[in-house]
Amino acid sequence: MTALVIVLALPLAGALAVIALPVRAAVPVALSATALTALSALVLAASVWQGGPVTLMVGGWQPPLGIALQADGLAAALIVMSALVVGAVAMAAWFEMAAARAGPRAAFGFWPLMLLLWGALNAVYVSRDLFNLYVGLELLSLAAVALVAISGTAQALVAALRYMIFALAGSLLYLAGVVLVYAGHGTLDIGLLSARSPAPGDALALGLMTAGLLAKTALFPFHVWLPPAHASAPAPASALLSALVPKASFLILIRLWFEAMPELASTAALLMLAGLGAIAVIWGGVLALVQSRLKLIVAYSTVAQLGYMFLVFPLAGGDGSAQPWAAGAWTGAMFQALSHGLAKAAMFLVAGICIAAVGSDRLGDLRGLARALPMTGFAFALAAITLMGLPPSGGFTAKYLLMTSAFAAGQWPWALVLAGGGLLAAAYLYRPLAALFTRDARLPVHPVARAWQGVPLALAALAVLLGLLSAAPFDLLQIGRPEPAVEGL
């Protein structure tokens, strides 16, 4: 229980301390806060593993009045993944966002914003109250927009503005849904909502909330803001943005469609969501093929990889949740979320190292960089393996589980999307890989600290390890799932 409180409170307290303390004390405080919170995240996951979901009534008040927080298996897994990603980003930022390299303003702003983003993420992962999720999402979006605007260039400002507009529109649509739910049911707690009889306005509320959350998750029609935003932010920031931020609003979608209002999930809506996901996979992949800058390729790959997660809706949603394969699909999507988080963060940190080494991330300038920075090249290759969904990576386990459920459910087109998406990912990730591994390096390479290079390598290795030792995370994800996994497929 205290682990849950520390996971929620420490990042926020760390951010406040970093703002208040003199500048030179900022980085040590931020790093120690990160380390402590990561530790308590592991402790939380362990307690969820043994004792089942950890619930916390804030202030001691029961849900209709107070706010209930619950860390079930899924939340614990996402918290641990976020802790790993933020820990790695903090170490990379220690090199990249140092005042000497990034300037006093960015050095001052990055650490508190990172910690605020992390606090907001943890708050959203565990919250069971719809309005509390709204405030958490808003804090997340503001911190994310600020992180995009940190680099200060003209296109970063344009990207931040476009991101802001989409985020605000998404929040307001979500708020409209929350307003309708409260007006209809008098309560905002997910647990109580699932127990109550459906009111006529619920379908509209769910529709509005879903539209808002789709805008924030950058699913296909609403994805235009993501690539420029994630490409123009500084590399550690874009690692946070791409790996973690869309997962929060996706998690809320899962809570709504699987726990709060499962009976509203009509097959048409579920198919529409998965259809958009499928288009996102193809669209993101094709656009990533034509980009010439590494960060844009990786950003469009986020658009594509997010599409995979939406395939869970027709396979495990609505009346399908009682089917035996629902657990496999649901866990597969969550594996995709976890492994994509680790691999994508590693890739953006590699992009950051490349920019630090040769000053630009254009593919032409990256030629032959793997000879000078072998660890970075290897990290990128490992991360690419995870994103392509090749064994033995976590991405493969996710793809395998989703494809098996798709076949078992008889909806094989989703399996086609997964297989085709994997090949598309291989295609657009091959170009940077080949550029890194050619021999003729054109630009002089500034030396990059080995420790800095080690960070993305560790993250990418974790993503692959997630695939090898996938039994433990699989069981962790089942704890607290609405319908615990039926054994076997």
């Binding site: 205290t2 409180v5 929620l8 409170a9 926020l12 307290a13 951010a15 406040l16 301390a17 703002i19 208040a20 500048v23 916390l56 009534m57 804030v58 202030g59 001691g60 008040w61 209709p64 009045l65 107070g66 706010i67 927080l69 300037g103 006093p104 303003r105 960015a106 001052f108 702003g109 914003l113 605020l116 606090g119 907001a120 708050a123 309005f131 509390n132 405030v135 958490g136 808003e138 804090l139 503001l142 911190a143 927009v145 600020a146 605007a149 940190i150 200060g152 400002l157 409209a176 309708l180 007006a183 209809g184 049911h185 008098g186 309560t187 009111a199 006529p200 306005g201 509209l204 509320a205």
Partner: protein, 308 residues
């Protein structure tokens, strides 16, 4: 009789809002927006939500209005290219109408109201005003996150400064004539404003008011003082400023953690010590809110006139 008043009021609100959206000049639409905020405050009063009326007037109309006005002023001085004239956009109109009709239909489809009963739990919080009870006790986690949202927005605004201006004082240089009307106004208003703001915070426990409304009034006073040149605009490097920004959420968070240390739940205030503890938290919150809002409206550190 009151229905006619409500109808007139709502009609006025809608016309002013229409003016704000489709009005010809940006300055004109900002002014319409401010009047819209004030009319909406009256609407809230009519609905019996006095706290919300105060918040809408202070924050919705007041501060947002000042924000937009200062922004418009800076844009005008920057000789910015004019935004293209845009005709009516049918797609946008249909979307807007569709959402409005959907909400309208939803209103009539609402089942009987089932509000959670505060009567049982309110006395435990030691609060007379139920809204403050909900804000600082039942949904304390929301309010804590909200005060940190303000801080995040401020950090975001500070990140928009140019690197060269980072050590400069915040916001533009206001040069009020020393003996002028504004300078004297800047000296006369603060005492009244400070007393009224602190009264609002104090009254919030049992009547209308609260940390946010009081904090906003204090922020307005700080703004006027700065614009009148009475108060020099602070710099990011000043520790005092940053401490003031952080004290509100910090005290709130620490009190929550203290409760955990003492074995109670997170952000729990035992009924015995609820009233004084809430007051301490509210005072700290007010200080932070006042400073954060004032500094937020002033803008990022800025050295020279906007040169492009």
């Amino acid at each position: 009789m009151s229905l006619a008043l409500d109808l007139a009021l709502c009609g006025l609100i809608l016309c002013v809002a229409l003016g704000a959206v489709v009005g010809r000049g940006v300055f004109r639409s900002v002014i319409f927006f401010i009047t819209y905020g004030l009319l909406l405050a009256i609407g809230w009063a009519r609905l019996g939500a006095k706290d919300v009326a105060l918040a809408e007037a202070a924050i919705g109309a007041g501060l947002t209005g000042v924000l937009l006005l200062t922004a418009h002023g800076r844009l005008r001085r920057m000789s910015v290219e004019r935004a293209p004239r845009v005709g009516p956009n049918p797609m946008a109109a249909t979307t807007g109408i569709a959402v409005a009709l959907a909400l309208g239909w939803a209103w009539f489809a609402l089942p009987a109201p089932t509000a959670p009963d505060l009567a049982a739990a309110l006395p435990l919080t030691g609060m007379g005003n139920p809204v403050t009870g909900v804000l600082l006790h039942f949904r304390a986690w929301d309010t804590l996150l909200e005060s940190i949202v303000l801080l995040a927005a401020l950090l975001g605004v500070w990140m928009l400064a140019r690197d060269v201006d980072w050590h400069a004082p915040l916001g533009l240089r206001y040069h009020a004539r020393p003996g002028g009307v504004l300078a004297s106004f800047g000296r006369l208003l603060p005492p009244i404003g400070l007393s009224f703001g602190s009264y609002l915070v104090w009254a919030g426990a049992d009547g209308t008011g609260g940390a946010f409304q009081g904090g906003t009034v204090l922020a307005a006073v700080v703004l006027v003082a700065m614009m009148a040149g009475v108060l020099p605009p602070p710099r990011v490097a000043q520790g005092g400023l940053r401490a003031a920004l952080v004290v509100g959420p910090g005290v709130f968070l620490l009190s929550g953690l203290l409760a955990v240390a003492l074995g109670m739940g997170f952000l729990t205030l035992p009924p015995a010590v609820a009233k004084p503890a809430t007051l301490i938290i509210e005072v700290a919150l007010t200080v932070s809110i006042a400073v954060t809002l004032a500094v937020l409206v002033i803008g990022p550190p800025d050295d020279k006139e906007p040169v492009r």
